[in-house]
Amino acid sequence: MKQFKGTDFYILDDLLTEEERLTRQSVRDFVDREFMPKIQQSFRDARFPMEVVPSLGRLGVFGAQINGYGCSKVSNIAYGIMMQELERGDSGLRSFASVQSSLAMTAIHEYGSEEQKNHWLPELASAKKIGCFGLTESDFGSNPAGMRTTATQDGKYYVMNGSKMWITNGSVADVAVVWAKTKKDDPKSIKGFLVEKGTRGFSSKDIHNKLSMRASVTSELSFDECKIPEDSILPHSGGLKSPLTCLMHARYSIAWGAIGAAMACYEEALDYAKERVQFSRPIAGYQLVQERLVWMLSEITKAQLLAWRMGKMQDNESLKHYHVSLAKMNNVKIALEIARACRDILGANGITDEYQCMRHMNNLESVYTYEGTNNIHTLVLGEHITGIKAFE
């Protein structure tokens, strides 16, 4: 595999600070040196390479957006760029970081008590502990408000019953942030809970035979009369708005991450097309192939500008959930289409794992679905601009 160069047609480097460029370099070097040599085999074996996690902890990647509690506190753009570089390696690697940082740590940071923050955040930042985030259920994906999992108070405990599906890092997590209704059928009663691995009545089971995100752990979590100490509730959480706020952070990281996957594919397609001779010359010399390559470059450049602007809006707190919806929707869609176009340019070679494009393509199918499907983000934006809600 050739060394990754990074696509920067509009010299966006000029828009980055020194720290942001250094962050990119560190994470890029990490991915090149420690992750790329493993990913092909990990994907084949359907295994997440857990052995790289301590390095990521030392790098300071986890919870890097948080101030204090052993976290790095980098700029929003540096945080995004980091995700871009991780997903250039594999969406599974970025998923790991998004779930740990944007979901589990954000939930604790935003809705946890001071004790919970002091207890968990430094451990999660240094990767001594792993977290996951359980919102989706098998019957409630796009519509999490309908969730059936309940946690009802019983003295000094909450008793949790139900199950969560498609949970990234579910079986490897030391702590699961689980969303449950404290009153049956009442979405307003949704609260977050910190459920530790090993708690009686809590079990997990991995989902096997995935064709996408093979180098990522996806699990089902089950709660059967699971007694959780009262002080494990996230005291400041309440209603669906709480998990949705966490999801907004994660979508921010996905909108950046997808660009990384797209860049990896574009570079691969460009290199391949310049080398591959069919008929009389390299296929890069044919108009139809050039059109595809130019289209990829222009979509990547637009996605980069969108992500950069999103970061700046986050800095001045003008970023709204619908802005993030647009960037997540757009950037993942173009990344997926770029991966498919890259696969096409690579011909039959593109279907093997000697090349990256099909691995990225398969992964991006998940990214397209999780954290709000493309449809759902379209409808969120539709509601925003028309004032009419179309998804219920």
């Binding site: 250094l22 560190s26 030392r58 990647v61 790095s72």
Partner: protein, 250 residues
Amino acid sequence: MKILVTVKRVSDPEAKLKIKPDGLWIQTEGVKFVVNPFDEIAVEEALRIKEKQTGEVVVVSVGDKVVTEQIRAALAMGADRGIFVNYAGSYDSYDIANILAKIVEQEKPDIIILGKQAVDDDMGQAGFMLAELLGYPQAAFASKVEITDDKKKAKVTREIDGGLEVKEVELPCIITADLRLNTPRYASLPNIMKAKQKPVKELTVESLGVAVKPRVTVKKLSEPPKRKGGVKVESVQDLVSKLKTEAKVI
């Protein structure tokens, strides 16, 4: 223990370079610049020595304002402070050695580590010249560095043709770093953020009392010859005869 390390700004070795129309240097627009990889190894070695011995790692770079980016990169790896010698003109290795000698006089480091060469002009002279100017012992092309227990000497392993040579040099000394000395760490995100706060002192060549007078000047740069396409040979005999008559390697 105080260690002084050089960090030169060079074009990314991966970058595709084009020569300027005047033929004297490369076009820099759109080219990524990095810390000279051998200097990065030098910084790493200095940090490792410091971590064992305690002390201070000071990095120095000569050039115009943009080189502070490479100083910052070394600070992000963990160096303690930087010295930026603001000088925009052209220079040769001897000028650099003169500038460094003045800085050594001011800073009085125990060890000075340089990359064995810069990957842009591949001169590989500054370390030797600096040792000569200062009258310090030197150990070039280090692949392993150990400080003796009494902290008076450095035991340096060097890669030489067909084997290894171990040298002992008294401190203060000059060491130049070879490729296999270590693998530089990635700057961690917290260290990148801390680097902003670390001091970088700005100096000029005038304030150091150095008159820069390059004795070596670049006359012309040219691109490497384009590689010709290979040929397919019909038989082993054919190959052997081509190796003999055309390539003249056997």
